[in-house]
Symmetry: C2
Subunit: 214 residues, 2 copies
DNA sequence: ACACTCCCTAAGCGCCCGCTCAGCTTCGGC
DNA sequence: GCCGAAGCTGAGCGGGCGCTTAGGGAGTGT
């Protein structure tokens, strides 16, 4: 599973799959601009400028500004799904896998906040077809988390009256990290991940919590 | 519980404090448009059109498009703060007050989703001065919730290793409801409020939870 | 040497934006 | 009956938007 070639922590600067080089630079510039100011407030001139190119250069590599957002959104969602899938298929009981899923998912939203922000909050700027494709990816993310929680309920590890609602809340909690996380703040992405993993285990009534935290 | 003068469901259509009538109609139209498409993607012609007026009419009542957002944001935040304050100063133990705060806060975010969406997600579209004012209101919301949690820890009702982080997570969880809540979905605002109140009591390790939920 | 392809730029098209302004109506006070 | 203020509109301004087009320079195969 997973995209190989990344070990952990470093994650080998993403967007490696985007070629040629100029197209990648434009895409990275677009991620930064969209995250800072929002899709609609970002101009194609701004994106091209950040990438050190003229406005026209953008249209050699992308048909429209929306295609840029679409590409960013698809790659980002695939990465998010990978993270959840890896955790869900890992070893250990439901509690371990849920903590792992939440910890790494939150770590990604905090550590790669600019990407996550675009991916999670600019969905509505996509046209109907592109949005439908992305929404499908989102539902698969939801299914991964729900699967772990259902496992835990089945084995008696968790005590959850409303599995669908709780799944929604867990994902919502993780996603919103991209909104408030501050790079200059006092917490590292890993610390937030650990805090959230503990909070989520409490939410599902897990008895096997890691003894508070240090 | 909750704020007098509204019986339930209706909430006495808000924005009553905005006068004259035309100014209120414009403001309500702006809330809808901003919530649907975002501040930057909304045109002044769209706002005026929804209110049944010509584009120029907007500028009789508001100096700029940004002033509209500022007004919406201030009134909305004040309403949110009122809800939290009422719950925090209520009777009962910390668990009851926290459940009340989360339940009504979430109920507002779900029931008045269009307003909440603008209030919570368009903050960055404001200029520096307006944003600073709103951020101050937000910090007071944070302080209300943290106060309840601190109370619960002090009395031994809660068991929370990281009060600041948990407060942040609780508020984040509630706020994100405005992003995903669907009016056509299967849950009412009150149901989501009840679910979230239970989840939050679990997060703070409250022993006095309401026996699952109905 | 030549043609061909790939990237890229300068210039600019057509459109729609936020916002303004002169002038029209409506209405209360006298 | 007349006046001034208040509320609103039609027309339109300066400007910036997304995107297009014509053409240039660098690299490659022959």
């Amino acid at each position: 599973m997973s995209t190989a070639e990344e070990t952990r922590g470093g994650e080998t600067e993403p967007w490696g799959e985007v070629t040629p080089d100029a197209a990648r630079r434009l895409l990275v510039a677009a991620v930064e601009a969209f995250a800072e100011r929002g899709y609609h407030a970002t101009t194609t001139r701004d994106i091209a400028g950040r990438a050190g190119m003229s406005p026209a250069a953008l249209y050699i590599h992308y048909k429209t500004k929306e295609e840029l957002l679409h590409r960013i959104s698809r790659i980002g969602h695939q990465r998010a799904l990978d993270i959840l899938r890896t955790a869900a298929r890992g070893e250990g009981g439901a509690a371990e896998r849920l903590a792992d899923a939440v910890g790494s998912f939150v770590g990604w939203h905090a550590g790669r906040r600019t990407t996550a922000r675009v991916v999670q909050y600019e969905l509505d700027a996509l046209g109907p077809e592109a949005r439908a494709e992305i929404v499908a990816l989102r539902r698969r993310c939801d299914a991964e988390v729900r699967g772990i929680i259902e496992d835990g309920v089945a084995t008696g590890e968790f005590e959850v009256p409303d599995v669908k609602g709780t799944t929604l809340a867990v994902l919502s909690l993780c996603i919103d990290v991209a909104r408030w996380f501050n790079v200059n703040g006092s917490r590292t992405p890993d610390e937030v991940g650990a805090l959230y993993a503990d909070l989520v285990l409490r939410m599902v009534g897990s008895k096997a919590r890691g003894a508070g935290q240090r």
